[in-house]
């Protein structure tokens, strides 16, 4: 059963990369956050963390390892952890508001390595991209409003179909 779940984790990592790349032409509009949140709600913590880690690794391999590589790991692992521990009884509203804040503070986590250049450089970076952060937050919110129920049901049905009814 554990091996089967690991295979499913690997498939879900691939799925995340595909949906990310499919929407890559839209600036700061993505459904990876929403899917990761749903996986964090439906899968055991170690599996959702493994998926977040695998996804960040693949993205780093695709786009190259740079100073933001660690931030990439951190941001997606934080999404999983915060969703897992904060949302006990999931609803589309809770997920939408949480994904709004994930979008808003995504760049804050990304800016952490810039602190080595000083606080003023980091703040300048954040202010420069604040509109894009807002686009990220609002698009996350709207996507969660309309897609949460559907994706949640599909992933839940997928787990049930593969015999993972009480996997969490």
């Amino acid at each position: 059963m554990r091996l089967k779940l690991l295979v499913l984790d690997a498939l879900l990592v691939g799925l995340l990369v595909i949906v990310k790349e499919a929407l890559a032409f839209l600036p700061n509009i993505e459904v990876v956050t929403l899917i990761l949140m749903i996986l964090a709600l439906l899968l055991p913590l170690r599996d959702s963390l493994l998926i977040a880690f695998g996804y960040a690794t693949l993205e780093n391999l695709l786009y190259g390892i740079n100073i933001f590589a660690l931030s990439y790991y951190l941001v997606f692992i934080l999404i999983v952890l915060i969703t897992h521990f904060l949302i006990r009884r999931p609803s589309y509203l809770k997920v939408a508001f949480l994904s709004f804040f994930f979008g808003l503070f995504f760049d804050v986590v990304f800016a952490l390595p810039l602190l080595v250049n000083g606080l003023s450089v980091t703040i300048a970076y954040l202010l420069n991209g604040i509109l894009f952060s807002l686009v990220h937050a609002v698009s996350n919110f709207i996507l969660a409003l309309f897609l949460y129920d559907g994706i949640y049901q599909i992933v839940a049905a997928l787990l049930e179909y593969n015999g993972f009814n009480d996997v969490k």
Partner: protein, 142 residues
């Protein structure tokens, strides 16, 4: 479903307001300013004088001085902004790419130049009273 649509519209309105707020026009300072300009070639200082102006940007000032025949200038409006090809007082000193000769400008006290650590395109340099600019025809040929 209506609740979702209303929430989505509110979120979009919030985004539109944020864009409108961030892209609002800056209040321009149209008061009199005293701006000092120096124009130098490798051999000599062609111009070293101060000018009273109401211009808001360095581009506006240069065009104003050209129109008033305080200096000579040949420039182009490129997609990124003003590109200065030649400057002078009594004669024009042109860039010469084949000799690596280019016009550059700097300022030790203009806020925009200081904030960027270099002077951006003249369209983006807002002027304040007392600003000083040095235009130099520099050879980058090795």
């Amino acid at each position: 479903m209506y609740k979702k649509i209303i929430l989505a519209v509110i979120a979009l309105l919030f985004l539109v307001l944020a864009f409108a707020f961030c892209n609002r026009p800056e209040i321009q300072d149209s008061s009199d300013k005293l701006i000092k300009l120096s124009i130098k070639t490798a051999e000599k200082t062609v111009l070293d004088a101060s000018f009273n102006t109401k211009a808001n940007t360095l581009k506006e000032l240069l065009i104003e001085l050209k129109d008033e025949q305080e200096l000579l200038m040949d420039y182009e409006n490129q997609s990124y902004g003003m590109y200065i090809k030649a400057l002078g007082k009594d004669e024009l000193y042109y860039e010469d790419m084949s000799r690596g000769l280019y016009w550059i400008y700097s300022s030790d006290n203009n806020k925009v130049c200081q904030a960027s650590a270099f002077c951006p395109v003249a369209d983006e340099i807002t002027l304040e009273n007392g600003d000083e600019f040095v235009f130099s025809l520099i050879s980058y040929a090795s």
